[in-house]
Amino acid sequence: MANKLISEIPLPKSIANVFSARNISTAKDALSLTEFELMDLLDVGLTEVRSALSQISEIVAPPYQTALSLMEQRFQNEHLGGHFPTGLKGLDAALCGGIPFGVLTELVGPAGIGKTQFCLKLSLLASLPTNYGGLDGRVIYIDVESKFSSRRLLEIGLRSFPEIFQMKEMAQEMAGRILVLRPTSLAEFTQSLEQIKVSLLQNQVKMLVIDSMAALVSGEHEQGARRQQTLSWHISFIKSLAEFSRIPVVVTNQVRSRNHDDASRYSFQVQSRDGATETPMQYDSHLVAALGIQWAHAVTTRLVLEAKSGISLLSDDGKEVMGPEINAIHCQVTGTCVAMAKNAGHNEIINFGIEGLH
């Protein structure tokens, strides 16, 4: 609505002509100016400007919905009330039923923890017919790091849904629904995102997976302002993609280690630490998610995967928790811990053993 043409708004004829004469053609142009700037530019009085602005605003402002109608609408129009169950009981409970539609869900964890495996399993699930708990649609899988393995995918399928994947034509159909894109550069990635936007609605795409976001962006740019800029475009784009097609979007992210903790403090905290009023917390070296704080703001739900032994993401507290530990406060309790027993064998990953710790 932001680029709504002024000429389409039912303003009084005289004012509408002035707007077009001064080359203020869209609502965006008009609303970016202050009342007095407009008065100067259009050479009309304050009352006219005010009434024109309020008319434009009324049309451009989106209509409201009550939260209740929003909820009813979700439950009516969407499969399972807008959540895609992962099949992991504890995780589903914590996420109010599964990976939410229409927003970004991020998987963060160290290398080798199973992010890609998680994505493979999710895309497989989404391709299944609804009576098997799937979404019965296509999946677009953007594989940046070239880690997608169709052999592995079918292996998971064969183990977890033997009744489907033992039939060759069914297996072919399910696997055929998963479309893998392999962009090699950021520019290519950007291009394929734009293409996806067009085809999402037409082609029954029910899920978008991006594995991984960090590899692309950190591969091409140095740290700093430029990276933030390119990233911010992608953030808005992916978010709007998720929202308008109302599909779950799963993105993986890498971790980085950080030595000192100042960057996660405010100035008043640093001061008070010097004054020793607050107990200083010492983190020697810990892992943080890549891509920085702006990206983190954009993510709606962040799932942190961690291994039971090895490098611990939370060295404090003494109690060891198996990943994925959920920080999904948007959906549920913080501190809810869901344990996923990942056995040593590669093949066992499909047999998620689940128990809720809390």
Binding site: D43, G45, L53, S54, T66, A67, S264, V299, V333
Partner: protein, 377 residues
């Protein structure tokens, strides 16, 4: 007052000045037909100019007896106004007692603080909403790192504002402006459910005589009173805030506006920083106006960013320094070890202090020790 401050179009102003009319008083005794002839404009246009001129001169002369400066209000009157407002908003005798003590004395400042901390702690949510009552206009900005609970706090406030008067709440409705798409209906439902449970608990606690005042509210009712606007660009954000004026006139029972987050679009699509500052401050002014006119609370949620200071990286709220000046109260949410804390960073009436809180399935609650932080900022 001079001509250039009159809200008339530039060409009319130019004509007035070139004809020698530089001050308002020079317009006071001229007739519209004379003016029309002198400026070479139509009679009706001249009439219009005179109307505007007399209008902007009007209050100065008519109110001269009661106030020295136009539009000013003495501190005493303000105090009086605020007191009368409180009587409207709280119907609990206890609270009226406390507030009757006067807003500038020490106790009330303390209450201001504790009630604000309750926004964050909100175990006694009944008192929480009276926090909005006690300072009828709170223009508040809340910022914090991702995952700290900003959206949760926003939803909690949108629910709590609806606690009925019988429970010391406001019984108002909420406008929720979502710029990020992070509003979760399921979550709002959970919080509403918990809120109703708490109210019936409180009911049993306080009124042993079970009979009256049974809770008739359903979570659905609470959700129905949250007006949700989804904003997709900064233009829509500006437009909506312009339009809210009209919307609120039609929905007078709205008592809080939550904007989650005020930052998002302004950080994405702006190249021209001067324009951004101008647009933002215009928006803040309009919001403040709304808060005053409809005596409601405005809660803005903000994101944080990292900032270089003295060779080290630190967190700072987004949108820069000039924006920090626009909000009246500013609360920063942060991690301290394993606990979430809220810190009053800026406020004209409350002393700066911090309090722990936690995010639970039931909403924002007092801090509990079992909360575990996932260090993944």
């Amino acid at each position: 007052m001079e001509i250039w401050r009159l809200p008339i179009s530039a060409s009319q102003r130019g004509k007035l000045i070139s004809a020698g009319y530089t001050s308002l008083s020079s317009l006071s005794s001229i007739s519209s037909s004379d003016l029309a002839r002198e400026l070479k404009v139509s009679e009706s246009e001249a009439m219009n100019i005179l109307n505007v001129a007399s209008h902007s001169r009007g209050p100065e002369t008519s109110n001269a007896s009661c106030s020295i400066v136009e539009g000013a209000q003495s501190a005493w009157d303000m105090l009086h106004d605020e007191e009368s407002l409180m009587h409207i908003t709280t119907s609990s005798a206890d609270l009226d007692n406390i507030l009757g003590g006067g807003i500038h004395c020490k106790e009330v400042t303390e209450i201001g603080w504790s009630s604000l901390s309750l926004i964050v702690n909100s175990v006694l949510k009944y008192k929480l909403t009276t926090a909005f009552g006690s300072e009828s206009i709170i223009f508040m900005l809340i910022g914090g790192v991702p995952g700290i609970g900003k959206t949760q706090l926003g939803i909690q406030i949108a629910v709590n504002v609806q606690i009925p008067n019988d429970f010391g709440g406001l019984g108002g409705k909420a406008v929720y402006i979502d710029t990020e798409g992070s509003f979760m209906v399921e979550r709002a439902f959970q919080i509403a459910e918990a809120c109703i449970e708490d109210m019936s608990e409180y009911n049993r606690f306080l009124r042993k005589d079970f009979q009256e005042c049974k809770i008739k509210m359903q979570p659905q009712d609470i959700l129905e009173n949250i007006f949700y606007f989804r904003i997709c660009s900064y233009t829509e954000q500006i437009a909506l805030i312009n339009y809210l004026d009209k919307f609120l006139s039609a929905h007078k029972d709205v008592k809080v506006i939550v904007v989650d987050s005020v930052t998002f679009h302004f950080r994405q699509d702006f190249d021209d920083m001067a324009l951004r500052t101008r647009v933002l401050s215009g928006m803040a002014l309009k919001l403040m106006n709304l808060a005053k006119r409809f005596s409601l609370a405005v809660v803005l949620l903000n994101q944080v960013t990292t900032k270089h200071t003295e060779a080290s990286l630190q967190l700072a709220l987004a949108l820069g320094d000039s924006w920090s000046h626009t909000c009246t109260n500013r609360i920063v949410l942060y991690w301290n070890g394993n606990e979430r804390y809220a810190y009053i960073d800026k406020s004209p009436s409350l002393r700066s202090a911090s309090a722990a809180y936690s995010v639970t399935a039931r909403g924002i609650r007092n801090s509990s020790s079992s909360c575990k932080r996932i260090k993944m900022m």
